[in-house]
């Protein structure tokens, strides 16, 4: 899309910030314990100072209220540098859910803290191997005192160990058929257990157990969950586009530089055609991702079809870009020393998060009425 001036400035800011402060090698450092943290704290603080952690937080709560196109521009640059931060969890999923919450006190307490990176929050909506957010087994039970307790287990909770606040989806058992609601659970709450489950992309991830854990309802029903998921998927699509772009740029560089049989391997037509095809796919994935983000910002009726479409497309393209990257780098691409594998791993994890291609393709078909 053509960016307006504000968007261009934001994109430049993000590009500079991540180029300076993020480095794919941090993935290894965190994985191998050379950095003793689940995320890149220095980078996260820098993002906080630049206002990026509050990109979706209303100005009244100290945020930039930039909208999803802005959040996507940041995510794309984060994807290029494999930034290890709780950006999607906290600044996108949680900020959107809290923004939709029907509880001013809750919003006033948490949104400013998220906006200036004093607190981290995340969303817990998955339970099994596959993303099925609208049918949780986790139950919310109203206590006699008007409070609520949660009972259940959640998997694939990003940044749970670092989070000050978890937004957990649960069935409130009111039988109104409007689906699950979100509940706020604070770190250290009674009955909350967090078991770290390292994933292939080396990001912080956990399985959490809730046993009579006190929780506060967000009070906005399923729409808050859906808004959060939609924003998260659209922003992940932009991150995946960043991954695809970067891995392709590196592969293109290698095609220029690596010589075999007395010529640059990029001069072989079979590789040229595959690279050319891939370049079109990447352009398309990017155009669709930002079109979908824009449609969300404008609340267009087509947004519900565009967002899963954008996520499915970006995930597929990022996977192909990574696979072609490894193949075209030959043996080097298979070594941990090269970064290509790190992009491949993140593309796989981000592609699955909040619904893999099949889930998203199906959601697109449903939104289109078939």
């Amino acid at each position: 899309m053509l960016l307006n001036d504000d968007q261009s400035m934001l994109a430049d800011l993000a590009a500079r910030l991540f180029t300076d402060k993020a480095d794919p090698d941090t993935v290894r450092a965190i994985r191998d314990g050379r950095i003793d943290s689940g995320y890149d704290q220095t980078l996260w603080q820098a993002m906080g100072e630049a206002g990026l952690t509050g990109i979706l937080v209303p100005e009244a709560h100290g945020g930039m209220d930039f909208g999803l196109v802005g959040a996507g521009l940041v995510a794309r640059e984060a994807g290029r540098r494999l930034a290890m931060t709780p950006y999607v969890s906290s600044a996108v999923l949680a900020a959107t859910a809290l923004g939709a919450a029907d509880d001013d006190a809750l919003r006033a307490r948490w949104l400013p803290a998220l906006a200036d990176a004093r607190a981290i929050a995340t969303l817990a909506c998955d339970e099994g191997r596959h993303h099925r957010p609208h049918d949780p087994a986790t139950r919310a039970v109203a206590g006699g005192d008007g409070g609520w307790h949660l009972q259940g287990e959640k998997t694939l909770v990003s940044d749970a160990a670092e989070a000050d606040l978890l937004l957990v989806s649960a069935d409130d058992g009111d039988g109104d058929g409007d689906g699950p609601c979100l509940f706020a659970v604070e770190a250290g709450a009674a009955g909350l257990t967090i078991e770290s489950t390292p994933l292939l992309d080396s990001r912080s991830c956990a399985r959490i157990t809730l046993d009579r854990t006190p929780a506060q309802p967000l009070g906005a029903g399923r729409p808050a969950l859906d808004a959060s998921l939609r924003a998260g998927r659209a922003v992940l699509a932009a991150e995946l586009v960043g991954i695809a772009r970067e891995v392709f740029a590196r592969t293109l560089g290698y095609l220029h530089e690596r010589r075999q049989f007395g010529r640059a391997i990029g001069s072989f037509q079979a590789l040229q055609h595959r690279a050319a095809h891939l370049s079109v796919e990447i352009e398309m994935a990017e155009a669709l991702a930002f079109r979908a983000l824009e449609a969300c910002d404008r609340d267009e009726p087509g947004a519900d079809a565009m967002v899963p479409a954008a996520k499915a497309k970006a995930a597929a393209v990022a996977r192909v870009a990574a696979a072609e990257g490894v193949q075209m780098h030959g043996g080097m691409g298979m070594t941990d020393e090269f970064d290509i594998g790190l992009f491949m791993k993140r593309a796989r994890a981000a592609g699955h998060t909040l619904g893999g291609d099949r889930y998203c393709t199906d959601a697109f078909a449903r939104a289109r009425g078939y």
Binding site: L2, M284, Y370
Partner: protein
Amino acid sequence: MAELEAWRMDVRDWLAANCPDAMREPVRSADDHVWGGRRWVFSSEAQRLWLERMAAKGWTAPEWPVEYGGAGLSPEAHAVLREEMARIGARTPVSNFGFWMLGPALLKFGSEAQKRRHLPAIARGEIRWCQGYSEPGAGSDLASLQTRAEAHDDHFVVNGRKIWTSYADRADCMFCLVRTDPDARKQAGISFLLLDMESEGVSTRPIQLISGESPFCETFFDDVSVPQENLVGELNQGWTIAKYLLTHERENIGGEPPGLLKGRDLGAMALAAIGADAEGRIDEPSLRHDIAGLEIDAMAFRALVDDVRARAEAGQGVGARSAMLKYYGTELNKRRYDLMMDVMGAEALEWEGERTHGGQYAREWLRSKGNSIEGGTSEIMLDIVAAHVLELPRG
């Protein structure tokens, strides 16, 4: 902006008053379109009237200068005219290769005499042009063409053979590429020539495609005499004009091709053809999934086309990116037709009969296979992307 709005109101009023009702109906087939030319027979008075009125305003070629039969509109004013015509569904009053290709070429490379002679006649729909580029031995490698034009005192003598000349059998004139210097290397010896199809020694033969009849012809030249004044640009410099027009042609691509899938969602088509399950969804899950995947690609492609157009309108050049659109758009169209065949099953195999409007499914499916060949093959497009977008080294 106020100026443009005033212009819009003028256009709207004029169209309301002058566009016949029949010319606000969609064009139903290639025959329903006005191609113009010496032998043109209007199928209705409305067609004739509409062309006459639009030509009088110079709106058949709105951006051409007034002295050459156009209206001298700016691109912005032209856009308004297009929008207002689209608003009431007004048909294009006339068009043929004279408008699409020869006009732009003459405006850039033609002599003053050539412009004055040919452009107004095109704009009035009096001469129908066709294009003579490809030859049996010169497809993707267009510059290897062999049709020979020998320069004599005041005329050329043309011998050879062109292929894929659309409507050559109905056109009045042809602009074509010919070899004027057989000793020069490929591109260097090519010239751009105009010739009258009624000249002695010109003959045409229609080409039948795998989908049935087609507008394409082979055209044969047997000692055809062409006046010296019909050379456009310099002798042996025709390749420059050809390259200019090839890019021009590709930049027009990216829109959805016409046909029975245009503007249609395969999902809706499948719901009707296959039926719905208990949830109201296409009752064939693997087909549903494949359709959704393809429509996602189609949506992503449209998003890219919109981006490229927006950049072009913002004055950022399109350049070799047009090859990306040509490549993907045609391959996508082929995939959509393939999937349509799956959706329609046995019905799509029929070749004749009323039920399928004469085998429309099968014929359009087969015709779509040519999309990735005509106007530059997918292979050539990928070569262009590799060389000029990715800047990979030549093999």
